[in-house]
Symmetry: C2
Subunit: 310 residues, 2 copies
Amino acid sequence: MKQRMWAVGVDFGGTNIKCGLVDRRGRVVTSLVLSTARFGRPTTFVVGIHRAVEQLAASARLSSARLAGIGIGVPGLVDAQRGVVHMLTNVRGWCDVPLAGRLRARLHVPVFIDNDANLVTLGEWRWGAGRGAKSLVCLTLGTGVGGGLVFHGALYRGASGAAGEIGHTVLDPDGPRCGCGARGCLEAHVGTAAIVRMARQAGVAHRGRLTPEWLAWMARRGDRRARAVWHQVGRLLGRGLAGIVNLLNPDRVVIGGGVANAWALFAPSLRRAIRADAMEIPGRTVRVVRAQLGDQAGVIGAAVLVWEER
Amino acid sequence: MKQRMWAVGVDFGGTNIKCGLVDRRGRVVTSLVLSTARFGRPTTFVVGIHRAVEQLAASARLSSARLAGIGIGVPGLVDAQRGVVHMLTNVRGWCDVPLAGRLRARLHVPVFIDNDANLVTLGEWRWGAGRGAKSLVCLTLGTGVGGGLVFHGALYRGASGAAGEIGHTVLDPDGPRCGCGARGCLEAHVGTAAIVRMARQAGVAHRGRLTPEWLAWMARRGDRRARAVWHQVGRLLGRGLAGIVNLLNPDRVVIGGGVANAWALFAPSLRRAIRADAMEIPGRTVRVVRAQLGDQAGVIGAAVLVWEER
């Protein structure tokens, strides 16, 4: 037991593959990044992870015998139990790849996979803003609006591993068309593209590209239009979450992802909307907080998966 | 073990208090009904249940020593763990009543309480249309639209015992005002009052009161307007459930309550709406079925609570 004190967590994103050596307390001891363009195909991925694990072990001066396992979060649909990647959302070449088995055969350590939103949830729940919660809704705000769920003190994956699609709960059936085909999903209201559209409609001044980062910068400088857009984001998010809070009566809602960097700009109107729209008891019970692990959440959560599943 | 083969299940409603002697396989062996008007106050309720238990035991010729316990479902907010009724929705006089403790002191058997929607869920899950499901969403359609949730193979109550309020997930933020104060809740769209309103707007002919029962009768006779209203009910319900299916990716959705008697009239458009609006994988995975236990679900579920909690 004492021997196996480390896990490697891998966060497979559309641009980067982040790898970290994580200890049992959820601390990233050392990490490195691979480019998805070079290592994003199934065969190159396996080679890349193999090398990364060796480098991480070497830089921390530990023998691979002390590695408890590898956890991998991928942006797509997986069969966590069988360790198979069914498909990835923005990376080509992945169709029913038995990834865990291939890596296990090559590295001779236990390998676990899950989708990235589930692992962010697992990370925040064990070592971040979700600590101690028995029931948790974790939301990641970015290009996509994803999420994960913890019930009865365990990650909940649903009947086919697809649970947690908070971005595709409907906020307004007459709202904007969503990428998933439906209308008025939460993602179509508060995903990056929707925020940029709102900023454009509000006439927020910009040079170059109008992005959520720019919009946050403008709002922090006191630009009234930019601030109004963030209020609206908070309001829409709060409305959408109110229904989820009524349905699930969770201990806590944790909000992460890149857009959560603008937390202070939208959190007050988000909390107000939940208080206004949710029923009294679940609305009063829930604590809505910002994620704490930042962009390490995926790597830490992937390592947590190793400790949980072994 | 062999000794204690029975439980008494109690379903406390706004009009009647149904009591049943239930065996370990979820069969109601004998039952009786008390009037809520006479036995609905905390003190009279305790007296009524005491007598009912004696009568049920006598009519089945079994000694009270063979009673495993009493389960009670109430229409309101409870602390299931401490056995306290915080308040009831349509029955006065209940404010933080330690009901389980009082009955236990009087009857000397274990007593468990929970809200009625949770117990319908528990009943359908163990012995009805939800059998074998690891994750389940149970919806009851009536004056109110309630529900219960099963995750990880166990009833999920939420952080403060209020989970499952499917009726108060928002379907359309610009929709009709709901009794809960918010706008466009599922209950405001497909609760009894909403169905009657739709029928009236559609100009469905009627003598005397226009009720869902009448509307179903007219639709079965072939009345086109009545049929169109039921299609619309199915569509709205399917839209609302699509978001929940995306979020929770459940094995099964079970639909009960009085309005579910019109199942054949609204189920096709309900299923169509889920297929159209839910994401592919959760939409394909979920089975949407009608509840099987009818108006015995509450009594059977209350008995299940005894077996589960002992």
